[in-house]
Amino acid sequence: MAATKKISLSEEELVRRLKAQDTIAVQALYDMYSGALLGVISRIIPQTELAEDLLQETFIKIWNSANSYDSNKGRLFTWMMNIARNLSIDKVRSRDFRNSGKNQDIENNVDFIDSQKEITFNADLLGLKDMVTALKPEFNSVLNMVYFKGYTHVEAAEELNLPLGTVKTRIRMAIMELRKHFN
């Protein structure tokens, strides 16, 4: 692992090269974000093989629709993340996935994947787990449903039997806590 040289580029450089269809951008994006993206995908689709197939599809789509990314509208990762999540949700809701019998209850995926993979946190991010667990669980669960499980905030409100306004507030509170932690 230590022998592998990881490529890391500034966001501006990444975007420029990606739009220029330079494959070095793909390599850099992969080195920087494949883990984070697979983390998102895996929480929606826990089957490793399927999740990795979808990660491939995600990178192909990032490559093919690079020109539709507008840096004025948001960060590159947000855009990639939404591609990964939308592909995963489409897969989960597709007929062949539902017929495969592999459909574990989507709600259990986050806990399932966490226990299965024994996720290790980066050293400099240590304490996040404590922080996240320290966060009021009701705030955290709403954020995770929307961010990781593929729920829309409307579906989350219905699922938790909460008013839409409460769901919005809880998402905002959870993100505020995260910001406090990371900044």
């Binding site: 494959t23 947000t78 993100i175």
Partner: protein, 292 residues
């Protein structure tokens, strides 16, 4: 400034970053971000937090997946380049044209086949119709014949019935005559001119009717120039009662003649056709007196 802050606190920016908004709502947030730098800043901060959150919970893919992805991207790049070249080459175009032509032929042939089948079906239908029409026509003809035959029969029956009715009426009348004393039965016997001749005349003394019985008329047939004439002798003077022919086949039994109020004798003479004003005495064939 205040508006921007209120917008931030509404929580819509978090939903925007999480990809939860409709296209219209997204456009609205993007417009706000352009207008208010603090909105733009807030979005960026949220994005960074979510990015860190995702990175913190990364799941590392299997070794070599990046090479697979790069291989796919490179092969797609190549195939894209190839497809760009294809339209420029002339043979490809020519073969395209042929394909279209073939398709058209195919279409045409299917159409022709379909039309042939339709035509065959029409002919078959026509034949069946013609046969049906012919047989119907034949049946109709035979039915017509039968109807003609039946109506002829009916006419015959009607004629027979009429004949029988007439006969029956006449016979009834004759039967009634015997009960009525006013009817006189006058038997006319043959004269020396023809002793075998005879006939019967019925005369009603008060009603003045004179009738001859056709069944009991035994007179030689007349030729075209001559007719028989009936006379009544009233006090020695002959009175004309009309002319008649001998017609044994006639349905009529009773033949009415001119009325006469009184008569002692009835006689028949052979006269020229149409009758004579006075009888030719030498040609008297039958005569008979009224019995009292």
């Amino acid at each position: 400034m205040e508006e921007g802050k209120a917008y931030i606190e509404s929580g819509i920016l978090e939903l925007y970053v999480l990809g939860q908004l409709t296209a219209q709502e997204q456009a609205e947030v993007e417009a706000m971000a352009v207008q208010y730098p603090e909105v733009k800043q807030e979005i960026d901060a949220i994005e960074r937090a979510m990015e860190q959150y995702a990175l913190a919970q990364a799941v590392h893919p299997a070794e070599g997946l990046d090479q697979k992805i790069l291989a796919r991207i490179n092969s797609e790049k190549q195939s894209t380049a190839e497809t760009f070249e294809v339209p420029a080459s002339v043979p490809a175009k020519a073969s395209d044209a042929i394909v279209v032509q073939l398709n058209r032929d195919d279409n045409y042939e299917t159409k022709v086949r379909r039309l042939r089948i339709a035509l065959a079906a029409c002919v078959a239908l026509l034949v069946v119709s013609a046969v049906a029409l012919f047989s119907a026509r034949t049946e109709l003809d035979s039915a017509k014949d039968q109807i003609a035959e039946l109506s002829l029969d009916k006419e015959k029956f009607t004629a027979t019935v009429n004949y029988m009715k007439q006969t029956n009426a006449a016979l009834q009348k004759i039967a009634d005559m015997t009960a009525d004393p006013n009817w006189k039965f006058v038997k006319l016997a043959g004269t020396p001119m023809d002793p075998k001749a005879s006939m019967m005349v019925y005369w009603h003394t008060t009603g003045k009717h004179v009738m001859m019985d056709n069944r009991k008329m035994k007179l030689p047939a007349t030729d075209k120039e001559h007719q028989y004439q009936l006379w009544a002798l009233v006090n020695g003077k002959p009175v004309d009662l009309g002319v008649f022919d001998v017609n044994a086949d006639s349905a009529q039994i009773l033949v009415s003649m001119k009325d006469i109020a009184a008569a002692q004798t009835f006689a028949v003479t052979l006269e020229k056709r149409g009758g004579s004003p006075s009888p030719t005495m030498t040609q008297m064939i039958v005569a008979g007196n009224v019995s009292i």
